[in-house]
Each structure stands twice: as C-alpha cells, then as structure tokens.
Symmetry: C2
C-alpha cells in the first residue's frame, strides 16, 4: 500500500496545531485498526506540521485596512509543505479558511481540505437537520459554516453579539494566553444560553481553541459536541491512506 | 528579537512526536511569560514537526544483521528539516540518540540537541546524586544515559532483565498499540520494585512512550518523575529564543 505524505498548516494557535497532530495520529491508529493492520510506528503515513507565526486571522478579517494580512505567511508554509512532499494539507484553524479559495487557487497541485465542508458532510450523513455554532467573529463574518451547512440542508443557530464577544474573550484572554479556566467559563456560559434557546442539537466547536477548554464543562453534559478538528483529522487520514 | 526556526524529528512513535510538540509549545509559552512578553500566536518561533515511518530503533540495535537501519530515513527527515530552515533539531525518541553522533557528523550546520545530556545537566543543577532509569532495551544497550549521567557525577540504577522485558511489553503492546491501561500497569509494576530497591530518587522516564502512560499510577505517587522530553522541549525553546 502506497501512503501519501500529508501536511498540517498550524501555528494558529500553536497549541491547537499540536493538538491537531495528536488527533491525526489518533485517526491514523483508528484507520489501521479498522483495516486489520498492526498499529506500529511504520504504519503511519509521513506527515508534517508547519507552525509559523501567522498574523492574526480574525484581526485581518475585521480590520483589513490596519491589520496584517496572513495570506503571505500561509503561502510560505504551503511552499515548504509542498517542498517536503505533501500532497494534501489540512489547515488547523477555522478562521484561516477565509483564505481557502485563494490558497487553493495558488496551490493547484495541493489538495487543501476544507474544515466546514468536512463537518457539514458528516452531519448530513448522520441525518442532522439543525446545529449550533461557536466560533470567532471572523468565522461568523465570512459565513464559513453557514455556506457549507446550507449546501447540506442543515439549519445553523448562531450566538448573539454579546455572546460572540464572550467567546472571543475566552479564545484570546483564555486559551491563547494559556488561562484555561477563564476560557472554559466563557465558552460554557455561551453554550448554556444557546442550549436553552435551541435545544439539544449538535454544537459545533468552530474554532480550534474551543475544544481545548469546553468539553467537560457542566453546561454541555449530554450535548453532542462536534470537534471540526477531529473531523478534519479523520478526513486527512483518509487521504493519506489513499481511501 | 530574531527567533530561530527549529525542527522536531518525530514518528518514533507518532503519538510521542505529537506530544513533544505540545511540550515545546508549553515551554515557549512559559518562556514568553517569564520574559514578560504577551503569549500570542505571533510570539512563538517557527517550528516544524517531521513524522516519518522510521524503522524500529530498538530492533536495529538488538539485531543489526536482520533489522532495517533507521539512519537513512532519519537523514531524509533532517534533509527536509534543514531545507525548511531549521537551525536546531530535537529528536523525539530516546533510543534514536544511538545515532546522534553519526547524524551530527552528517549535518554539521544543524545543532542536534542530545536528550540524555540535557537531562543529566538538569539533574546536576538540582544537586542530585542518584536516579533510576526506565528505558528501552536499545537505550540500555547503548548506555545512552549512563554516559551522560556519569559525566555529571550521577549514579544511575537500572532495572533487572525481567523488568526490562516488562517495560518493552508496555511500550510495544501498550503505548505503540494504543492500549494505555496495559502500558500503565507494566510501567507501574517496574517502578514499584525499583523504588523498593533504591528509594525515592528521581525516576527518569527514558523512552518518550513512558510519560504517556506512567504518571498518575499509584506506585509513583510522590516520586520525582523526570520527563526527558519535557527537558528537551525546554532546551529547544531556549535555542529558538536565542538564549
């Protein structure tokens, strides 16, 4: 069996990038077991993680005149991932998918997976008709999941403006600043009010920082939590194994 | 401040490589906080993780006539890490350090950190005079830690042969096969008998798979556990920040 070398573009933030590799390795182990192959070091496809100091994606979307554009540095990462032999790349940041179209156009030889499409197709296969979305202001602004979910016939419930600010606080002053308790409290509060409004429909944790802090919080007990990074990691493993 | 790009040679096994990136990111965050800098995505140095299907290191050391030599594929990884701009590289596998000398000679422009020397220097700074070592048969065979610890004037206690076999079972049929309960039971049993023989001296978890399963086991409560991967990750962060 010929495995394909794959890449992960991370650094957005670095903790989420590291966690994405963990998920990818887990997805590969699951794949080996499911196919009856032994789980050994040599059973994994070659994979590369690139963590570059990519400018802030939300800032670039919300204040494009003043904030630095992350596109050029994402291209640096993809240049090098292509140079080391990657055939497909997963971008370990939801908001960064705002540049997915431009990046895919600039790198036609690379298969650039799309996190929201992977999630939407998974929910569709489960027969889900509605879901809730926790994400960054940038992700809401570009309608990343809205488009992908609409294409699969799934209704998406979004938080209100004050709730979105709370999510941003949990991401920036919580996870990215390595204050996990703060992050958990903020994410859990938003999840609680949304659950009260919309019921027990799947909750998409649509920023790679959110699954690092939210699971385990009381307010999401019993709620189906969708980790797009996990869905993306599984999709990347399928590509690496040539499925 | 100019940061240096650094690399991590992993895949030995992939779960340990992913965990090493997590530790490196944590070490960088600690470094930023200690220096009073904000912990943001852009504060981290560029870093790359290469996970290649490198042939088994212990097998190559124990049966060099029949097992595949991992040297060539480690060189493939270093070639590419050098190509993407890495100036220093940490190898996320203890046993692989058997090839450290040959690799450093083959890549004189790369600073190849040495996991056992980093650990020995750390224990010396703490004023420790003795320690215990859990590792692979390959690591015992090459005396990786023995040399580095002796150079720092530290006595090292090793497990007996049957105990070493138990460690190998925990590593291969436990962690590498994703059976963590099995791994924890095997590692904890060896730690218990060694602690009874040698007392509460620091225990070096000298295989990157061991810290994935041993901490938290009853038999090591209160024992100083040294995670060489954490010490190596901190050393790599110091290089990346130009200390």
């Amino acid at each position: 069996m010929k495995l394909h070398t794959v890449g992960i573009l991370g650094g957005m933030g670095p903790a989420a990038g590291a966690d994405f590799v963990r998920l990818f390795v887990q997805a590969c182990a699951d794949h080996l077991r499911a196919s009856g192959a032994p789980v050994t070091d040599q059973g994994y496809p070659e994979h590369w993680l690139a963590q570059l100091p990519i400018p802030d994606r939300s800032a670039a979307l919300l204040a494009p005149e003043t904030a630095e554009d992350p596109f050029a540095m994402m291209c640096q990462g993809l240049d090098k991932l292509q140079a080391v032999g990657a055939r497909a790349v997963a971008v370990a940041c939801n908001t960064a998918h705002a540049w997915h179209g431009r990046l895919q156009q600039a790198y036609p030889q690379l298969q650039l997976l799309h996190i929201a499409r992977v999630v939407a197709e998974g929910l569709q296969q489960q027969g889900q008709q509605a879901c809730m979305l926790l994400a960054t202001q940038g992700t809401y602004r570009i309608g990343l999941y809205d488009q992908a979910l609409a294409a699969c016939g799934i209704t998406v419930h979004l938080p209100q403006e004050a709730e979105r600010e709370l999510l941003m606080r949990g991401i920036y002053q919580g996870v990215k600043a390595d204050r996990m308790d703060q992050a958990r409290a903020d994410f859990a509060a938003v999840a609680q009010v949304m659950r009260a409004r919309h019921g027990d429909v799947p909750l998409i944790m649509g920023c790679t920082e959110i699954p690092l802090a939210l699971p385990g919080a009381d307010s999401v007990q019993g709620l189906p939590l969708i980790d797009p990074a996990w869905e993306l990691a599984r999709a990347l493993a399928r590509v690496a194994y040539g499925d």
